[in-house]
Symmetry: C2
Subunit: 209 residues, 2 copies
Protein backbone atom coordinates (compact mmCIF):
# COMPACT_ATOMS: atom_id res chain seq x y z
CA UNK A 1 0.00 0.00 0.00
CA UNK A 2 1.14 3.53 -0.72
CA UNK A 3 2.24 5.80 2.10
CA UNK A 4 -0.71 8.06 1.18
CA UNK A 5 -4.34 7.12 1.84
CA UNK A 6 -5.40 8.45 -1.59
CA UNK A 7 -3.82 8.45 -5.06
CA UNK A 8 -5.23 11.94 -5.74
CA UNK A 9 -3.55 13.18 -2.57
CA UNK A 10 -0.29 11.49 -3.53
CA UNK A 11 -0.34 13.06 -7.00
CA UNK A 12 -0.95 16.51 -5.53
CA UNK A 13 1.90 15.99 -3.04
CA UNK A 14 4.18 14.82 -5.87
CA UNK A 15 3.43 17.99 -7.83
CA UNK A 16 3.96 20.26 -4.84
CA UNK A 17 7.21 18.47 -3.95
CA UNK A 18 8.46 19.01 -7.52
CA UNK A 19 8.99 22.67 -6.62
CA UNK A 20 12.63 23.41 -5.70
CA UNK A 21 13.28 23.33 -1.95
CA UNK A 22 9.89 21.82 -1.07
CA UNK A 23 10.25 18.46 0.70
CA UNK A 24 7.53 15.81 0.85
CA UNK A 25 6.46 16.66 4.42
CA UNK A 26 6.09 20.35 3.58
CA UNK A 27 4.32 19.43 0.33
CA UNK A 28 1.78 17.34 2.24
CA UNK A 29 1.17 20.20 4.68
CA UNK A 30 0.65 22.67 1.82
CA UNK A 31 -1.67 20.33 -0.09
CA UNK A 32 -3.82 19.68 3.01
CA UNK A 33 -3.94 23.45 3.55
CA UNK A 34 -5.24 23.87 -0.02
CA UNK A 35 -7.79 21.12 0.55
CA UNK A 36 -9.26 23.15 3.43
CA UNK A 37 -9.84 26.16 1.14
CA UNK A 38 -13.01 26.68 -0.90
CA UNK A 39 -13.45 25.22 -4.39
CA UNK A 40 -13.19 28.74 -5.76
CA UNK A 41 -9.92 29.44 -3.95
CA UNK A 42 -8.33 26.22 -5.20
CA UNK A 43 -9.46 27.08 -8.75
CA UNK A 44 -7.90 30.54 -8.40
CA UNK A 45 -4.69 29.00 -7.06
CA UNK A 46 -4.33 26.50 -9.90
CA UNK A 47 -5.58 28.91 -12.55
CA UNK A 48 -2.98 31.57 -11.77
CA UNK A 49 -0.15 29.28 -12.90
CA UNK A 50 -1.76 27.96 -16.08
CA UNK A 51 -2.81 31.50 -17.08
CA UNK A 52 0.71 32.83 -16.46
CA UNK A 53 2.24 30.00 -18.50
CA UNK A 54 -0.23 30.36 -21.38
CA UNK A 55 -0.46 34.13 -21.59
CA UNK A 56 2.96 35.36 -20.49
CA UNK A 57 4.74 37.68 -22.93
CA UNK A 58 8.42 38.53 -23.02
CA UNK A 59 9.38 42.10 -23.94
CA UNK A 60 10.75 42.11 -27.52
CA UNK A 61 13.50 44.56 -26.50
CA UNK A 62 14.79 43.45 -23.09
CA UNK A 63 13.20 39.95 -22.82
CA UNK A 64 11.84 40.66 -19.37
CA UNK A 65 8.46 39.12 -18.44
CA UNK A 66 5.77 41.53 -19.53
CA UNK A 67 2.03 41.86 -20.13
CA UNK A 68 2.59 43.55 -23.49
CA UNK A 69 4.98 43.32 -26.44
CA UNK A 70 7.10 46.15 -25.02
CA UNK A 71 7.56 46.20 -21.23
CA UNK A 72 6.79 49.33 -19.14
CA UNK A 73 10.51 50.07 -18.71
CA UNK A 74 11.38 49.78 -22.41
CA UNK A 75 8.33 51.83 -23.42
CA UNK A 76 8.98 54.60 -20.88
CA UNK A 77 10.28 57.89 -22.28
CA UNK A 78 11.59 58.80 -18.81
CA UNK A 79 14.17 56.01 -18.86
CA UNK A 80 17.66 56.47 -20.30
CA UNK A 81 17.67 54.20 -23.37
CA UNK A 82 21.40 54.75 -23.99
CA UNK A 83 22.35 52.66 -20.92
CA UNK A 84 21.64 48.92 -20.89
CA UNK A 85 22.05 46.89 -17.72
CA UNK A 86 22.68 43.23 -18.58
CA UNK A 87 21.23 40.82 -15.99
CA UNK A 88 20.75 37.09 -15.66
CA UNK A 89 17.03 36.95 -14.87
CA UNK A 90 13.76 38.64 -13.96
CA UNK A 91 14.51 38.72 -10.22
CA UNK A 92 17.66 40.74 -10.90
CA UNK A 93 15.65 43.42 -12.74
CA UNK A 94 13.31 43.62 -9.74
CA UNK A 95 16.23 43.81 -7.29
CA UNK A 96 17.89 46.67 -9.18
CA UNK A 97 14.56 48.50 -9.66
CA UNK A 98 13.99 48.24 -5.90
CA UNK A 99 17.21 50.15 -5.22
CA UNK A 100 15.75 53.19 -7.01
CA UNK A 101 19.30 53.98 -8.18
CA UNK A 102 19.03 53.06 -11.86
CA UNK A 103 17.25 54.90 -14.64
CA UNK A 104 18.48 53.04 -17.70
CA UNK A 105 16.98 50.01 -19.43
CA UNK A 106 17.71 46.29 -19.08
CA UNK A 107 18.61 43.22 -21.08
CA UNK A 108 17.58 39.91 -19.50
CA UNK A 109 19.85 37.11 -20.71
CA UNK A 110 17.64 34.37 -19.26
CA UNK A 111 20.68 32.55 -17.87
CA UNK A 112 24.47 32.71 -17.92
CA UNK A 113 27.04 30.67 -19.78
CA UNK A 114 27.56 27.41 -17.89
CA UNK A 115 29.12 24.53 -19.83
CA UNK A 116 28.50 22.23 -16.83
CA UNK A 117 24.74 22.79 -17.26
CA UNK A 118 24.92 22.70 -21.06
CA UNK A 119 24.18 26.42 -21.36
CA UNK A 120 26.20 28.04 -24.14
CA UNK A 121 25.95 31.55 -25.64
CA UNK A 122 23.24 30.36 -28.07
CA UNK A 123 20.94 29.32 -25.22
CA UNK A 124 20.75 32.82 -23.77
CA UNK A 125 19.85 36.23 -25.20
CA UNK A 126 23.33 37.37 -26.26
CA UNK A 127 22.70 37.62 -30.04
CA UNK A 128 19.72 39.88 -29.38
CA UNK A 129 21.89 42.03 -27.08
CA UNK A 130 24.44 42.45 -29.87
CA UNK A 131 21.69 43.40 -32.33
CA UNK A 132 20.35 46.00 -29.89
CA UNK A 133 23.81 47.53 -29.53
CA UNK A 134 24.58 47.35 -33.25
CA UNK A 135 21.43 49.39 -33.99
CA UNK A 136 23.21 52.34 -32.32
CA UNK A 137 22.21 54.81 -29.62
CA UNK A 138 23.76 52.75 -26.81
CA UNK A 139 26.50 54.54 -24.87
CA UNK A 140 27.08 52.17 -21.97
CA UNK A 141 26.35 48.60 -21.04
CA UNK A 142 26.56 47.63 -17.38
CA UNK A 143 27.37 43.98 -16.78
CA UNK A 144 25.38 43.08 -13.66
CA UNK A 145 25.82 39.31 -13.69
CA UNK A 146 26.58 37.13 -10.65
CA UNK A 147 30.15 37.45 -9.34
CA UNK A 148 30.77 33.75 -9.99
CA UNK A 149 32.94 31.92 -12.51
CA UNK A 150 29.93 31.56 -14.81
CA UNK A 151 29.12 35.26 -14.47
CA UNK A 152 32.72 36.22 -15.21
CA UNK A 153 32.81 33.87 -18.21
CA UNK A 154 29.65 35.47 -19.58
CA UNK A 155 31.09 38.97 -18.99
CA UNK A 156 34.25 38.09 -20.93
CA UNK A 157 32.24 36.47 -23.72
CA UNK A 158 30.06 39.57 -24.16
CA UNK A 159 33.13 41.83 -24.11
CA UNK A 160 34.85 39.69 -26.75
CA UNK A 161 31.75 39.77 -28.96
CA UNK A 162 31.70 43.58 -28.69
CA UNK A 163 35.38 43.71 -29.70
CA UNK A 164 34.83 41.36 -32.64
CA UNK A 165 31.91 43.51 -33.79
CA UNK A 166 34.07 46.63 -33.52
CA UNK A 167 31.79 48.09 -30.85
CA UNK A 168 34.12 47.99 -27.82
CA UNK A 169 35.41 51.50 -28.58
CA UNK A 170 32.08 53.23 -29.09
CA UNK A 171 30.30 51.59 -26.14
CA UNK A 172 31.52 51.95 -22.57
CA UNK A 173 31.45 48.60 -20.77
CA UNK A 174 31.21 48.67 -16.96
CA UNK A 175 30.45 46.19 -14.23
CA UNK A 176 28.92 46.42 -10.76
CA UNK A 177 31.33 47.59 -8.04
CA UNK A 178 32.67 44.65 -6.06
CA UNK A 179 33.77 44.88 -2.45
CA UNK A 180 32.72 44.74 1.16
CA UNK A 181 28.92 44.90 1.49
CA UNK A 182 27.68 48.09 3.16
CA UNK A 183 26.80 47.43 6.79
CA UNK A 184 29.05 44.35 6.96
CA UNK A 185 31.71 43.70 9.58
CA UNK A 186 35.08 42.89 8.04
CA UNK A 187 35.41 39.71 10.11
CA UNK A 188 32.32 38.30 8.35
CA UNK A 189 33.47 39.26 4.85
CA UNK A 190 34.96 36.36 2.91
CA UNK A 191 38.71 36.42 2.23
CA UNK A 192 38.49 36.75 -1.55
CA UNK A 193 36.17 39.74 -1.37
CA UNK A 194 38.26 41.35 1.35
CA UNK A 195 41.51 40.70 -0.52
CA UNK A 196 40.18 42.25 -3.73
CA UNK A 197 38.76 45.18 -1.77
CA UNK A 198 42.27 46.02 -0.61
CA UNK A 199 43.77 45.64 -4.10
CA UNK A 200 40.97 47.67 -5.72
CA UNK A 201 40.71 50.27 -2.96
CA UNK A 202 39.18 53.61 -3.95
CA UNK A 203 40.06 57.16 -2.95
CA UNK A 204 38.46 58.36 0.28
CA UNK A 205 36.54 61.52 -0.53
CA UNK A 206 35.48 62.61 2.95
CA UNK A 207 32.24 61.00 4.04
CA UNK A 208 30.89 59.82 0.67
CA UNK A 209 29.88 56.17 0.87
CA UNK B 1 4.13 50.91 -11.11
CA UNK B 2 3.83 47.51 -9.46
CA UNK B 3 6.92 45.80 -8.11
CA UNK B 4 6.30 43.07 -10.70
CA UNK B 5 6.85 43.54 -14.43
CA UNK B 6 3.61 41.64 -15.22
CA UNK B 7 0.17 41.43 -13.60
CA UNK B 8 -0.05 37.72 -14.48
CA UNK B 9 3.25 37.16 -12.70
CA UNK B 10 2.07 39.15 -9.69
CA UNK B 11 -1.17 37.14 -9.47
CA UNK B 12 0.74 33.86 -9.62
CA UNK B 13 3.14 35.09 -6.91
CA UNK B 14 0.16 36.18 -4.75
CA UNK B 15 -1.36 32.71 -5.02
CA UNK B 16 1.91 30.94 -4.25
CA UNK B 17 2.54 33.27 -1.29
CA UNK B 18 -0.92 32.42 0.10
CA UNK B 19 0.48 29.03 1.11
CA UNK B 20 1.48 28.92 4.78
CA UNK B 21 5.18 29.57 5.36
CA UNK B 22 5.86 30.72 1.79
CA UNK B 23 7.15 34.31 1.64
CA UNK B 24 6.96 36.55 -1.41
CA UNK B 25 10.61 36.05 -2.42
CA UNK B 26 10.27 32.28 -2.27
CA UNK B 27 6.93 32.50 -4.08
CA UNK B 28 8.56 34.45 -6.93
CA UNK B 29 11.34 31.89 -7.17
CA UNK B 30 8.84 29.01 -7.28
CA UNK B 31 6.64 30.74 -9.89
CA UNK B 32 9.63 31.47 -12.14
CA UNK B 33 10.66 27.83 -11.76
CA UNK B 34 7.19 26.77 -12.93
CA UNK B 35 7.40 29.18 -15.83
CA UNK B 36 10.52 27.39 -17.08
CA UNK B 37 8.66 24.06 -17.20
CA UNK B 38 6.73 22.82 -20.26
CA UNK B 39 3.06 23.75 -20.82
CA UNK B 40 2.18 20.15 -20.06
CA UNK B 41 4.06 20.14 -16.75
CA UNK B 42 2.38 23.36 -15.60
CA UNK B 43 -1.02 21.88 -16.54
CA UNK B 44 -0.20 18.74 -14.53
CA UNK B 45 0.90 20.88 -11.58
CA UNK B 46 -2.25 22.99 -11.51
CA UNK B 47 -4.55 20.11 -12.38
CA UNK B 48 -3.42 17.95 -9.46
CA UNK B 49 -4.86 20.43 -6.95
CA UNK B 50 -8.19 21.08 -8.68
CA UNK B 51 -8.67 17.33 -9.22
CA UNK B 52 -7.89 16.57 -5.58
CA UNK B 53 -10.30 19.26 -4.39
CA UNK B 54 -13.09 18.17 -6.75
CA UNK B 55 -12.75 14.41 -6.49
CA UNK B 56 -11.49 13.80 -2.96
CA UNK B 57 -13.58 11.38 -0.88
CA UNK B 58 -13.55 10.98 2.88
CA UNK B 59 -13.93 7.46 4.29
CA UNK B 60 -17.46 7.08 5.69
CA UNK B 61 -16.10 5.15 8.70
CA UNK B 62 -12.90 6.91 9.79
CA UNK B 63 -13.15 10.20 7.79
CA UNK B 64 -9.62 9.84 6.48
CA UNK B 65 -8.93 11.08 2.94
CA UNK B 66 -9.65 8.22 0.56
CA UNK B 67 -10.18 7.33 -3.09
CA UNK B 68 -13.27 5.26 -2.27
CA UNK B 69 -16.23 5.36 0.13
CA UNK B 70 -14.40 3.05 2.54
CA UNK B 71 -10.63 3.61 2.92
CA UNK B 72 -8.12 0.75 2.51
CA UNK B 73 -7.58 0.53 6.29
CA UNK B 74 -11.29 0.38 7.16
CA UNK B 75 -11.96 -2.15 4.40
CA UNK B 76 -9.05 -4.43 5.35
CA UNK B 77 -9.94 -7.70 7.06
CA UNK B 78 -6.39 -7.93 8.40
CA UNK B 79 -6.86 -4.85 10.63
CA UNK B 80 -8.23 -5.11 14.17
CA UNK B 81 -11.58 -3.32 13.96
CA UNK B 82 -12.14 -3.52 17.73
CA UNK B 83 -9.43 -0.90 18.39
CA UNK B 84 -9.93 2.70 17.22
CA UNK B 85 -7.09 5.21 17.34
CA UNK B 86 -8.49 8.76 17.52
CA UNK B 87 -6.28 11.34 15.75
CA UNK B 88 -6.50 14.99 14.81
CA UNK B 89 -5.72 14.78 11.10
CA UNK B 90 -4.56 12.86 8.04
CA UNK B 91 -0.87 13.42 8.74
CA UNK B 92 -1.24 11.72 12.13
CA UNK B 93 -2.65 8.57 10.48
CA UNK B 94 0.35 8.53 8.14
CA UNK B 95 2.79 9.06 11.03
CA UNK B 96 1.33 6.18 13.07
CA UNK B 97 1.14 3.91 9.99
CA UNK B 98 4.81 4.64 9.33
CA UNK B 99 5.76 3.24 12.75
CA UNK B 100 4.43 -0.17 11.70
CA UNK B 101 3.37 -0.68 15.34
CA UNK B 102 -0.39 -0.35 15.01
CA UNK B 103 -2.85 -2.79 13.49
CA UNK B 104 -6.17 -1.26 14.54
CA UNK B 105 -8.32 1.28 12.70
CA UNK B 106 -8.52 5.08 12.98
CA UNK B 107 -10.95 7.90 13.53
CA UNK B 108 -9.87 11.26 12.07
CA UNK B 109 -11.49 14.13 14.00
CA UNK B 110 -10.44 16.75 11.44
CA UNK B 111 -9.37 19.10 14.22
CA UNK B 112 -9.39 19.40 18.00
CA UNK B 113 -11.55 21.46 20.34
CA UNK B 114 -10.16 24.99 20.43
CA UNK B 115 -12.51 27.74 21.66
CA UNK B 116 -9.87 30.34 20.69
CA UNK B 117 -10.21 29.27 17.04
CA UNK B 118 -13.98 28.82 17.28
CA UNK B 119 -13.73 25.03 17.01
CA UNK B 120 -16.24 23.28 19.26
CA UNK B 121 -17.22 19.59 19.45
CA UNK B 122 -19.78 20.05 16.66
CA UNK B 123 -17.11 21.23 14.20
CA UNK B 124 -15.17 17.98 14.43
CA UNK B 125 -16.06 14.31 13.97
CA UNK B 126 -16.98 13.46 17.58
CA UNK B 127 -20.65 12.57 17.03
CA UNK B 128 -19.67 10.09 14.33
CA UNK B 129 -17.07 8.58 16.72
CA UNK B 130 -19.79 8.05 19.36
CA UNK B 131 -22.05 6.44 16.76
CA UNK B 132 -19.25 4.08 15.71
CA UNK B 133 -18.67 3.06 19.32
CA UNK B 134 -22.41 2.77 20.12
CA UNK B 135 -22.79 0.29 17.24
CA UNK B 136 -20.73 -2.14 19.35
CA UNK B 137 -17.70 -4.31 18.64
CA UNK B 138 -15.24 -1.68 19.89
CA UNK B 139 -13.05 -2.82 22.77
CA UNK B 140 -10.53 0.00 23.03
CA UNK B 141 -10.13 3.56 21.87
CA UNK B 142 -6.66 5.09 21.90
CA UNK B 143 -6.62 8.87 22.25
CA UNK B 144 -3.66 9.97 20.11
CA UNK B 145 -4.23 13.73 20.10
CA UNK B 146 -1.56 16.40 20.53
CA UNK B 147 -0.24 16.71 24.10
CA UNK B 148 -1.43 20.32 24.27
CA UNK B 149 -4.19 22.01 26.25
CA UNK B 150 -6.51 21.66 23.24
CA UNK B 151 -5.62 17.98 22.89
CA UNK B 152 -6.23 17.37 26.59
CA UNK B 153 -9.56 19.23 26.44
CA UNK B 154 -10.66 17.07 23.53
CA UNK B 155 -9.55 13.90 25.36
CA UNK B 156 -11.63 14.87 28.43
CA UNK B 157 -14.62 15.78 26.28
CA UNK B 158 -14.57 12.42 24.48
CA UNK B 159 -14.20 10.58 27.79
CA UNK B 160 -17.15 12.51 29.30
CA UNK B 161 -19.30 11.72 26.25
CA UNK B 162 -18.47 8.01 26.65
CA UNK B 163 -19.45 8.18 30.35
CA UNK B 164 -22.70 9.98 29.54
CA UNK B 165 -23.53 7.35 26.94
CA UNK B 166 -22.80 4.60 29.45
CA UNK B 167 -19.93 3.30 27.32
CA UNK B 168 -16.98 4.11 29.60
CA UNK B 169 -17.22 0.71 31.32
CA UNK B 170 -17.46 -1.46 28.22
CA UNK B 171 -14.77 0.35 26.21
CA UNK B 172 -11.18 0.68 27.41
CA UNK B 173 -9.89 4.24 26.92
CA UNK B 174 -6.14 4.68 26.64
CA UNK B 175 -3.81 7.46 25.55
CA UNK B 176 -0.34 7.54 24.02
CA UNK B 177 2.50 7.08 26.52
CA UNK B 178 4.01 10.43 27.47
CA UNK B 179 7.59 10.85 28.60
CA UNK B 180 11.16 11.41 27.52
CA UNK B 181 11.54 10.84 23.76
CA UNK B 182 13.67 7.81 22.91
CA UNK B 183 17.18 8.87 21.93
CA UNK B 184 16.87 12.20 23.78
CA UNK B 185 19.33 13.55 26.32
CA UNK B 186 17.66 14.51 29.60
CA UNK B 187 19.21 17.99 29.51
CA UNK B 188 17.33 18.75 26.28
CA UNK B 189 13.98 17.43 27.57
CA UNK B 190 11.60 20.18 28.71
CA UNK B 191 10.92 20.47 32.45
CA UNK B 192 7.23 19.56 32.30
CA UNK B 193 7.87 16.38 30.34
CA UNK B 194 10.78 15.44 32.61
CA UNK B 195 8.78 16.20 35.79
CA UNK B 196 5.86 14.04 34.63
CA UNK B 197 8.24 11.29 33.58
CA UNK B 198 9.47 11.05 37.18
CA UNK B 199 5.95 11.09 38.63
CA UNK B 200 4.69 8.54 36.09
CA UNK B 201 7.78 6.33 36.16
CA UNK B 202 7.29 2.72 35.05
CA UNK B 203 8.77 -0.49 36.39
CA UNK B 204 12.16 -1.40 34.92
CA UNK B 205 11.88 -4.85 33.45
CA UNK B 206 15.46 -5.52 32.45
CA UNK B 207 16.32 -4.16 29.06
CA UNK B 208 12.84 -3.67 27.59
CA UNK B 209 12.44 -0.21 26.10
Amino acid sequence: MSEYPSILLEQAVNQMASLPGVGRKTALRLVLHLLRQSDQDVQAFAGAFTRLKQEVVYCRECHNISDSELCPICSSSRRDHSTICVVENVQDVMSIENTGQYNGVYHVLGGIISPMDGIGPKEIEIDSLMERIAKGGVEEIILALPTTMEGDTTNFYIFRRLQNAGLAQSVKVSQLARGVAIGNELEYTDEITLGRSILNRTEFRGGEK
